[in-house]
C-alpha cells in the first residue's frame, strides 16, 4: 500500500449501531475516505448496524432516522432526486482499494437470532467485543455511529 501515502500503522475503528440512510451514507463516506487515505479501517456492526448487513434487508434503506420531521422527508426526496450512491457499493469499492474489515458483533447476532449465513458476504466474520477492541486498541481514531 506504499502508493496510498499513509503508514501501515494508521488505523480507524468504527462502531456502527444504526441502519438508516442518514447514518449509513455518512458512515460509508467516512470509511471510504479513510481507506483512500491509506488507513486500515475496522468496523464493528452491532444492533441496527448489524441489521444493515442482513441479506434480506436490501441495500438501500430509504428511511431517515426518526425525529427529523419534515426535514427527514425532504432529505429522503433529495437522496432520490440526486441519485445517492449505494452505501454498500461505496464499501465494496473501499474494500477493493485498501484495507477494510467488517465484523459482526456476536452478542447482536445472538439477540437478533442471526446466523453468519444471514449476512452479506462483505462482512468478514463474527467477533466478540473483546476481540474487536484488541484488534483496534492502537487505532488512531474511533467513531461510534
Amino acid at each position: 500500500m506504499g502508493d496510498v501515502g499513509a503508514s501501515p500503522a494508521e488505523q480507524m475503528a468504527v462502531v456502527l449501531t444504526e441502519n438508516s440512510a442518514d447514518k449509513l451514507l455518512p458512515f460509508a463516506t467516512l470509511v471510504s475516505g479513510a481507506v483512500a487515505m491509506g488507513m486500515r479501517v475496522d468496523v464493528f456492526a452491532s444492533y441496527w448496524g448489524l441489521l444493515a448487513f442482513r441479506k434480506s434487508s436490501g441495500s438501500e434503506p430509504a428511511v431517515v432516522s426518526p425525529g427529523h420531521g419534515e426535514e427527514g422527508s425532504r432529505l429522503e426526496a433529495a437522496l432520490r432526486a440526486k441519485k445517492a450512491p449505494s452505501w454498500r457499493a461505496i464499501l465494496q469499492m473501499a474494500k477493493s482499494i485498501g484495507e477494510l474489515h467488517i465484523y459482526a458483533c456476536s452478542q447482536s447476532m445472538d439477540v437478533l437470532g442471526l446466523a453468519p449465513g444471514d449476512l452479506e458476504p462483505i462482512v468478514d466474520g463474527v467477533t466478540g467485543v473483546a476481540t474487536f477492541v484488541d484488534r483496534t486498541r492502537s487505532a488512531n481514531v474511533t467513531y461510534f455511529i
Binding site: G2, T29, G33
Partner: protein, 92 residues
C-alpha cells in the same frame, strides 16, 4: 468517444492520446478519489490519467492525496459542470 460511453469510473484508452480517462462524473465524494486510487494502483509508473469529476470536495481532496501519495498533478482545468485532473503516476 461517440456512442458507447463507458460507465462511471471505467478507465478507457482514447485513440488520440496515451492518457487513461477516468470518468467519475456524477460520483459522490469521495468516489472520484477512490477511482483515482484504484487506477493508480493498477497501472504502471509513468501512466497519465485524466480524472473527470463533478464533485466539489475532490478539488481539495485529490491534490491533497496526490501530495501525500507523491504522484504528480500535471494539470487542473475546470470545464462547464465538471473538473479535469491530469495526473501522472510517478512511483509504485
Amino acid at each position: 468517444m461517440s456512442g458507447a460511453d463507458p460507465p462511471p469510473g471505467t478507465a478507457t484508452n482514447p485513440p488520440a492520446a496515451s492518457r487513461l480517462i477516468v470518468d467519475a462524473r456524477g460520483s459522490w465524494c469521495p468516489g472520484p478519489l477512490m477511482e483515482l486510487v484504484r487506477v493508480i494502483r493498477e497501472e504502471p509508473v509513468g501512466t497519465e490519467f485524466e480524472l473527470l469529476s463533478s464533485d466539489e470536495g475532490s478539488r481539495k481532496d485529490v491534490p491533497m492525496w496526490l501530495e501525500k501519495a507523491g504522484h504528480r498533478l500535471v494539470e487542473f482545468r475546470s470545464d462547464s459542470g465538471f473538473d479535469r485532473y491530469v495526473v501522472q503516476k510517478t512511483h509504485e
